[in-house]
Each structure stands twice: as C-alpha cells, then as structure tokens.
Amino acid sequence: MTFPTGAIRNVETARSLEDVAARMRSVFGEEVVTAVHERKGGVRDEVQYYDLWIAVEKGRLLETVDLLAEFDFPQFHVISGNDDGDFITLYYHFTIFQAAGRGKRLGVIAAIQVGKDDLTVDSLFSRLPAVEYSEREIREMFGVDFIGLPNKALIFLPEDWDEDIKPWRRDETGPADKDVRELS
C-alpha cells in the first residue's frame, strides 16, 4: 500500500478532539478511548490542548496509524512501555495537527499489549521511518520483534552485550542481581 494516500504534508486546518475520537470509536469500538487528558496552563488555567489515550489490539496497529493519517501526517515521538507480567504494554506516542494553528495539536497515545507467548508486532517502518530507533530500542530492551523492520542491530547496548538479558524486563529474562553493579 502507499502511505499516506495523499501527499506527505501537514494539514493547516485541525479537526476537533471529538471528531478524532468519534472516528476512532466507529472503527475500533466504544472502548477504544481510555482517557482524555486536558492540558492546562497560563494565568487563567484554561485547557490549552489535549492528549487522547487509546488502546487497540496489536494486530490493528497499522490500521491505527492509517486512521491517524486520514486527519494529518502523524508525527511519531517514541514508543514507551513496561513489562506488565504476561504481556509487554507498548505505548506509541503520536502528534497530529502539529502545524494547524495555535493550540491545535492533538497528542495521541496508542497502547497495545504484546503477549509473552508471541513477542511480535508489525513494524511501522514502511510508513514512518522515524520509528527506527524506537523499534530497535524496544527490541533490545524488551525482546519484542518488529516484523518488517530492516535493521535489527543493537542500538543503545554495546556490541558485546549478552542478548539473552533484556534490560527492561521484570521476569527471568531481565537483569539479575549479579548483572547490576551498584556504584554508590
């Protein structure tokens, strides 16, 4: 497929939070929106912009990005995440409407759960090459494999790192006490 369907440009006119949330709900169901954070600031303490938190199945991640691209070319920030027991939760942080006027930016955070029985996710690289460092980081830190990511070499860990140790995992694959040296 070609991504996005239109030109690679930022739109100059934003749509409302309600429009984006309604479109999300119509595609992924009512439960998709997990939180809306109102971000306030200034002397009058008024809402300046919003962050929209959503949760989707990991198999529908590419669809989520395509849906965001219906509104604006998505700006990718980072993947954050945690080892939550039976699964790794990954949070993909995006912005839409970054160039659509003052206070119009919408932060969109898409959470997926990657079960430890199948630690694979579709890579976003073909759509957004900006994800390269983040996907490589999540791969080496959590052991999640990104299908379609061309360069799977280590990025922040040293060449001689024992790749069986996943630094951010909290189970037996994470760093053991003997792997951690206290400096003070």
């Binding site: 440009r9 971000r39 303490d45 912009y49 700006q75 003052r102 460092y133 990025i155």
Partner: protein
Amino acid sequence: MEKQYTIPIGPVHVGLKEPITAWLDLEGEKIVGATVRPGAIHRGIEFMARERNPIQVIYLAERICGICSFSHITAFVRAVEDAAGIPVPPRGQYIRALTLELERLHSHMLWAGVACYSIGFDSAFNLGMVLREKVMDVLEVLSGNRVNYGVGTIGGVRWDITPKVAAAVREMVKYYRAEFYPFYEIVTEDPIAHARMRHVGTLSYEDALRYGAVGPTARASGVRCDLRHSSPYEAYADFDVTPIVPQDYYGKAYGDVFDRFLVRVHEVYQSLDIVDKIMDGLPEGDIVWEKNATKVLLALKKAEGTGWSAIEAPRGDDSHVVHLAAGDENVTWWKVRAPTYANAVSWPVMFRENELADAPLIINSIDPCISCMERILTTDVGRGDQRLLTRKELLKMSREKTRRLMGK
C-alpha cells in the same frame, strides 16, 4: 562504478565531543550511504529511576544533558504532574518558561559558535562563546549554577525571581539586542561560511516529516512546528510563539545547514522577545504547589497513572513518559526521548550525496552537545605570558579573517 569504501566517523570525533559512530559508504569523496551507531554512552538512566522516587529522579533527569538540563527536568516533572494531576501556580509556570528561554539562548549561541568552529571560523566561534557568557551569568544569578540549575521541582520551581534577578534579566536582554547582531552579520555575510553551509546536508520537507525531525532541524526544512505554539504549556499559554521557518524570512526553505543556522539565530531574537513578555506579565503568588517535599512524595505515592509531556527544548521536542503506581513510592517506569534521538534518524538522509569533508558539519548541524568553553585565553608558551581577548577584538579578528580570505 568506482570502488566503494566504508569509513567510520567516530566514536571519538572530528566534529563532536560526544561518542557516536557514523559509518559512511564512499565513492571517492562522495557519501553514498550512511549507518549511524549510537550506544557508546548509554547509561541506563531509565533503569536507574526504578529505584528512585520522583523527586530523586529530577536530579537524575537534570544530568541527562549538560546543555538542556532544565528542558529535561521540565519534561519529566510535567509528565509526573500529568500522571498525578498536580497543578502548577502561574508564577511557577512563568519562572519555568523564563528558565527554558534562557537555556534556549545559551544553547543556540553555543551551537552557532560550534557551527563556525566546524568550518574553521574559529574567531567567530570564540565570539559566540563570549556572547554566551552573559546568559550563563544570569542563570548563575537565578540559581547559583551554570549547568545544572536545580530550578525545577514537581508542582513548580525552587527559586524565585528577586529584584536582583529581574534586573540581571532585563540587562541581558538589552545587551543581546545591541551585541548579537554583529555575530549574525559576520557569519551570514561571510562568503566562505555561506559556501560551506548552503546546500549542504539537505533534508527535504517530506523527509523531515517521514523521518520525524523535530525543532530547528524540522523548521529549517520548512515544517511549521513548535510545541510552544501548537500545544502551549506553562507561560506560553498566555502569549503566542510563532514558529520560525526560513520561508517567512528568506522566501524559501532549503533545509540545509545554513537554514538550520538561520533558524537558530532568529530564535535567539524570538527568545529575547519572549523573555520580555514573561518579565512584563510575571504574576504574583506562590512558586510551587507544595513546599514540603515529604507531603509531595506522599501525594505521589497515592497517585496512579501514566503521564506524557512533550516540550520544545532548544533542539526540538523533548518527550518524557512516566508511570506512577499507587503504593509504589518510586517511579514505576520512565521513558526519555531527547530531541537528538529523533533528529539522528535523519542523518543518513542528510549525508547522502554530500562530500566526506562536510560530514563533521552535518553531524554538528543537529546536535551541538559540546561542553562549554567559557572564554578565550591566548597563551604564548615561548614568552610565558597570557592575555584575555575581548569581544571587540574577536569581532575585529573575525572581520579581518573574512577580508583576508577574500583577498581584500
């Protein structure tokens, strides 16, 4: 086809005082491909935070970067405040914004100086460093420190703007309005600086979007993005900050190193205007939500949630994500995404079809993290004497160098 060679630039560097490796594929002098390998200095800061409470992590976050230390703690404390729902009093917001702009001023001046150094224009480099001293002095008046100011905390700031600080800030703005222009002029009007930076390391508008470039790097490619404008936070909620893009000033965005220089230089002037607005509109009142750190920690221990903060650091969007779990007194998890993490992804695109000799400049064009040189001291080892060069002398030397090279 010519035989291809692959050579490493780094980890110990010609262009940068920080370790990163760029493997460049060369045909003759031309760069045809590049692979970047970070990882020589990963300190596992996010892992370390798991055993520290949010107030302790502030001081860890402050040490991520020696230049934009305050940007990192602002992004971190804002993420904590988002997760826990903690408000910041208006005066605290204004002092945060002021410190962020002071940091932007010294970061941009450092970078502009370093860009000159990368092209062998050392007198202009030293001139930039001399100019930078003024804002470092103001930060010292505010906080007592030059690098890690310890200004920010959860729910506000730790240092107030006293009449003495206010006077130093006003005097600094006046100084830069008078003294910064000659620096801009000697570099932009120097034909060699122009030749070395124009059409070098170009990043197109489309690639800036696809590769997720941020901050001045993205703006130099014509992307009208600035988080202070698109999602106003802190004091920026009370006045507009228009994103600075080359097409608004020079008719067109080339997306090259020269445009990255111009964007940063104009942002210096923009920051001065912002500092004025902050000082004019500075509200009275508390500077922090709760002074007692024990009470803050108790509130944070009860909090449950994930928070995200993206702020406009000098190099672009600095994103921090924090999770706090109820009952856990430590930061459960934390993710830091510094602007360079985003901008470095674009390096291979910028390198393509450029000359090997321009590689250090292209590397420097996005990330100026070089520890600060305070002032220039000339030492004659033979005679054993020392002399401090003044700003006027450096300006004169910079002009003479341009004339000499132009044969005038």
